[in-house]
């Protein structure tokens, strides 16, 4: 089985199937997964759906790079990253990250590292629609700080 599974796709993903795929190796004592969903995330306006745009080619390259970086930091076995693009409605799944390792600390840390870096380095952009209209989501300073904290050894 390939150690890295990295996909950018419009279709939804099946968390149970993705978990089952990475949970088969009895050498792994830990499987950590993260799912990001479309939420009503701003300022009182009611978000109805979200459209994800990306930079085909560069996106996959960046996801490969941050996965390689995670593997340099922690002893990992399997890594899955699936990120959807296109239009998604409130409550739908956007992103899946799954990491396996012999030990939980490595798996937890690597999973958090991957989502922190994905959010600040991978070329995806969110366009939010609400009854008030549509607008591009602003990048958050807190996301940038979360990614920088890994470089500063604070996390």
């Amino acid at each position: 089985m390939q150690a890295n599974k990295i996909l950018v796709q419009t279709e939804d993903f099946d968390v149970a199937a993705e978990y089952a795929r990475i949970a088969e190796d009895n050498g792994d004592g830990a499987v950590v997964t993260f799912v990001g969903k479309v939420r009503d995330f701003n300022d009182g306006s009611e978000v109805t759906d979200l459209t994800l745009e990306h930079y085909p080619g560069m996106t996959e390259n960046v996801l490969q790079q941050i996965t390689a970086e995670a593997r340099e930091r922690w002893p990992l076995n399997l890594v899955t990253i699936i990120h959807r693009v296109g239009t998604m409605h409130l409550g739908e799944q956007i992103v899946f990250i799954g990491v396996t390792s012999a030990h939980r600390k490595a798996a937890f840390a690597a999973c958090e590292f991957l989502i922190d870096f994905l959010k600040t380095k991978a070329p995806f952009w969110k366009l939010e629609a609400s009854p008030d209209g549509r607008h591009w989501v602003d990048a958050r300073d807190s996301d940038e700080q979360a990614a920088k904290a890994w470089d500063n050894g604070e996390s």
């Binding site: 990001g36 994800l52 745009e53 990306h54 930079y55 080619g57 560069m58 390259n61 990120h83 956007i94 992103v95 989502i115 994905l118 959010k119 600040t120 380095k121 991978a122 070329p123 995806f124 952009w125 969110k126 366009l127 591009w136 989501v137 602003d138 990048a139 996301d143």
Partner: protein, 82 residues
């Protein structure tokens, strides 16, 4: 020629996803940005954003990075995936 790509609100505000630019007199990404901004007020305004990012051949780059004909250079706002 340099293949220039625009994404997200930069693409929307400019009204185009890509342009071809002769790179003969352009040494850096900053030169390309200035060249495009000189076209008209709208382009100047959109490309003047201090948050604008640049990728050269699909790798995040600095404004002083060198460019040449055959490169793919993309301009876009801060990313918001995940």
């Amino acid at each position: 020629m340099i293949n220039v790509l625009f994404f997200a609100q930069v693409r929307e505000l400019l009204g185009t996803a890509s342009v071809q630019v002769d790179g003969a007199n352009l040494a850096t990404a900053a030169d390309l940005r200035a060249h495009l901004a000189s076209q008209n007020d709208k382009w100047a305004q959109v490309l003047d954003s201090d948050k604008l990012l640049v990728a050269i051949n699909q790798t995040m780059s600095q404004w002083h990075a060198a460019i040449q004909d055959g490169d793919e250079v993309a301009f876009f706002p801060p990313v918001t995936g995940g």
